[in-house]
């Protein structure tokens, strides 16, 4: 049983809160992804789980045990580092065997000759050899067992790092952006490898990334963080379809969700600049009270056509099977993130190769069936009482 439970975990680095009152529960055999922009505290949280960093306050439980007071080696967790952290002076085999050797370590292993022999004996024992062989086979590393890390490619190194974690057969696997050093192609295949590992080995996985594709494809559950605070905790689908705030909404999905400044006016509906749209069914309950809102629409649910918001094409990017068209709206304003969008651009994904030219006037049609509303402050605005749409 390796459910993980965090209770008000806080970490303060010289006055700065890298993790702020984080609480959540992860069931046994879940694949939790910690997602968030750089510096949001993902690594810090993971390192606290591993025991590489002490918690400032709060508690961490794994199964029935409270672990935050234990040293790393007593927590029975495996950690896969972003930088692999392979031992460069050991062969792949020794790298993989190392945790097993450490398990049987005696002080006299430090003695020059005797220690070397003892280690070799452990390495050569039938049980260990068998385990290593199986692990290597799973990871397709059999050929390379006697090579040194420097002679391996990035993907192979990554697999060695995984192997080192696997042989220990721990309850909990912790991984800190293990794929971020790989090129796109390798990344795709390693992603599949890790998912397979999770299926086969079992155990609870906690996986840090800032890549939303990884988060969406790998996680059974995602904790999306920002500035040390968990913004939303849920399944990938919940996070995509039902974002808790504008930050989550814009962080997930490429191109990001468009946020258009709008106003609910009772009787009239949703006013965007000089256009008025009816409130869709799942939002209708909000129509009773006038207020300023942000309308969140995914680029895939917008089309270019007649009778929509007027605008001009600002940029066309062709991405294989589809094109991303940026349109500068004429009358409506957008509220994109702090990083300085121009203030009236929306992005629309159109299928195929678009022949639109920059500056060409177009009209944008919105499909509000999956649209969401936010307060101007960024918090999600939910229709009360009604059951969840999407």
């Amino acid at each position: 049983m390796a459910s993980i439970s965090l209770q008000g975990v806080t970490k303060i680095f010289g006055g700065k809160k890298a993790a702020n009152e984080i609480s959540f529960d992860v069931a046994d055999r879940e694949f939790l992804v910690l997602l968030g922009p750089s510096g949001c505290g993902k690594s810090t949280l993971l390192r606290m789980l591993a025991g590489l960093e002490q918690v400032t306050s709060g508690e961490i439980h794994v199964g029935p045990r409270r672990v935050d007071t234990l040293p790393p080696s007593d927590r029975d967790m495996a950690f896969v580092f972003q930088s692999y952290a392979l031992y460069p002076h050991m062969t792949v085999r020794r790298n993989i065997t190392f945790p097993l050797i450490m398990r049987e370590h005696r002080w006299w292993f430090h003695l020059p000759l005797v220690g070397g022999l003892a280690k070799r004996r452990i390495e050569r024992s039938a049980a260990v050899q068998d385990l290593v062989a199986r692990t290597a086979k799973t990871l397709a590393l059999t050929e390379m067992l006697d090579q040194y890390p420097r002679t391996l490619s990035g993907g192979q190194r990554q697999r060695v790092a995984l192997g080192r974690a696997m042989v220990r057969q721990p309850d909990v696997f912790l991984m800190d952006e293990p794929l971020s050093n790989l090129d796109a192609k390798l990344r795709t295949s390693m992603r599949a490898e890790i998912i397979k590992l999770h299926r086969e080995v079992g155990g609870t996985f906690v996986y840090v990334t800032h890549d939303q594709i990884e988060a969406m494809t790998m996680g059974t559950r995602i904790a999306l963080m920002r500035d040390g605070v968990v913004q939303q905790f849920g399944t990938p689908r919940e996070i995509y379809a039902d974002p808790a705030n504008t930050f989550v909404a814009r962080f997930i999905g490429t191109p990001p969700m468009n946020l258009i400044e709008a106003r609910i006016e009772p009787q009239r509906g949703l006013v965007l600049g000089n256009t008025v749209l009816p409130l869709p069914a799942h939002l209708a309950a909000l129509g009773g009270q006038a207020r300023d809102v942000l309308l969140g629409v995914r680029p895939h649910t917008m089309q270019l056509g007649a009778g929509g918001l007027a605008g001009k094409v600002a940029l066309v990017e062709h991405v294989g099977a589809e094109s991303i068209v940026s349109v500068q709206l004429e009358h409506a304003r957008t509220a994109h993130n702090e990083d300085g969008g121009s203030g009236s651009d929306v992005m629309i994904v159109v299928p195929g190769y678009s022949d639109l030219r920059t500056g060409q006037p177009v009209q944008v049609v919105l499909d509000l069936a999956e649209a969401v509303l936010f307060e101007r402050g960024g918090q999600r605005l939910r229709a009360p009482a009604l059951p969840l749409a999407a």
Partner: protein, 309 residues
């Protein structure tokens, strides 16, 4: 007990907490240095306030600051300081200059580079006692090869007896010292040069920089910290260099190579006055300390200026 020892076990490397590891890791050396350096140093400090004979170091007469007052009031000692300063500065400057030149020469690829790198460091490997002996012979006024080599290169000065001339002895000793220590400088700088980014070098070339500009814009800033620390070490070591000078000139002629350590040695062992020797040693130590403090100050300021945290 068991529990505490567990908790005290090293955890996160960045988080020592109640971790005793650093203390017991450092303890052997700390004890060692205290015994073999700290305690003698303290004793020397005490001796510098006494009048003590080499022959009976355990019978000392406390004389207060007398030894220091003697030093300060002697013109001769000021001369010693001057010689020490000249010796140290020239040593460091020339060793770094030559070392840098050698390192730059040996950094670029050419056939036989490995061998050249090894051969250039021969002087570093040569024992000072042997170096002193051969250089005494090389500098010999009558039979020394140095005069002959100079003549080959067009020197008109005739046969000089280098180590016996008050004007030439210091240059001769300096030349020997630099010859002996420049390889160390070149090894250190060569190592630092490995850190020079080839991309930066290339980008500077594309920006239109000539060789010297590339050096100043790319190479020098990279190796500068190493060179600074190297200078500090060479300075400290030059301040305390003994065997080479003593064997070559014993500080003469007419005090022209009389550095602090030579003076220390003479007072303590030739005049058999440990108190005075210790006082000279303390003056030297203070100078080295001041230089070191300045180095770290400067270093800190430079780093802060560059925006390093």
């Amino acid at each position: 007990m068991q529990a505490t020892s567990k908790a005290a076990r090293p955890l996160a490397p960045r988080q020592p907490g109640r971790d005793w590891t650093p203390y017991w890791f450092a303890a052997p050396v700390a004890i060692y240095l205290l015994l073999f350096q700290g305690y003698p140093l303290a004793q020397e400090l005490y001796l510098s306030f006494t009048s003590t004979s080499l022959l009976s170091p355990d019978q000392h007469t406390y004389v207060g600051l007398q030894n220091y007052v003697d030093l300060v009031t002697q013109d001769e000692f000021r001369h010693v300081l001057l010689i020490t300063a000249v010796y140290t500065v020239v040593c460091v400057v020339l060793a770094i200059g030559l070392g840098l030149g050698a390192a730059l020469l040996l950094d670029a690829p050419f056939r036989g580079r490995g061998l050249a790198r090894a051969l250039v460091t021969i002087p570093w490997a040569a024992p000072p006692v042997a170096v002193a002996l051969i250089f005494i012979w090389i500098y010999n006024g009558q039979y020394g090869v140095f005069n002959h080599l100079l003549a080959v290169f067009g020197w008109k000065g005739g046969m000089e007896s280098w180590l016996d001339s008050p004007a030439l002895a210091l240059p001769a000793v300096l030349l020997t010292t630099v010859w002996q220590i420049f390889p160390f400088a070149s090894v250190v700088i060569l190592a630092a040069l490995q850190g020079v980014s080839s991309e930066l070098r290339e980008v500077a070339i594309i920006d239109g920089a000539d060789r010297l500009s590339v050096f100043r814009a790319v190479v020098w800033p990279t190796i500068q910290p190493s060179v600074a620390l190297l200078s500090l070490f060479l300075t400290i070591w030059s301040l305390r260099r003994f065997d080479l000078i003593w064997l070559m000139t014993q500080g003469g002629p007419i005090g022209s190579t009389n550095t602090l350590v030579i003076e220390l040695y003479r007072r303590a062992f030739v005049y058999r006055d440990l108190g005075q020797g210790a006082a000279v040693g303390m003056v030297g130590l203070s100078i080295a300390l001041v230089i070191t403090v300045f180095y770290f100050r400067y270093n800190q300021r430079a780093e802060r200026a560059k925006g390093q945290r």
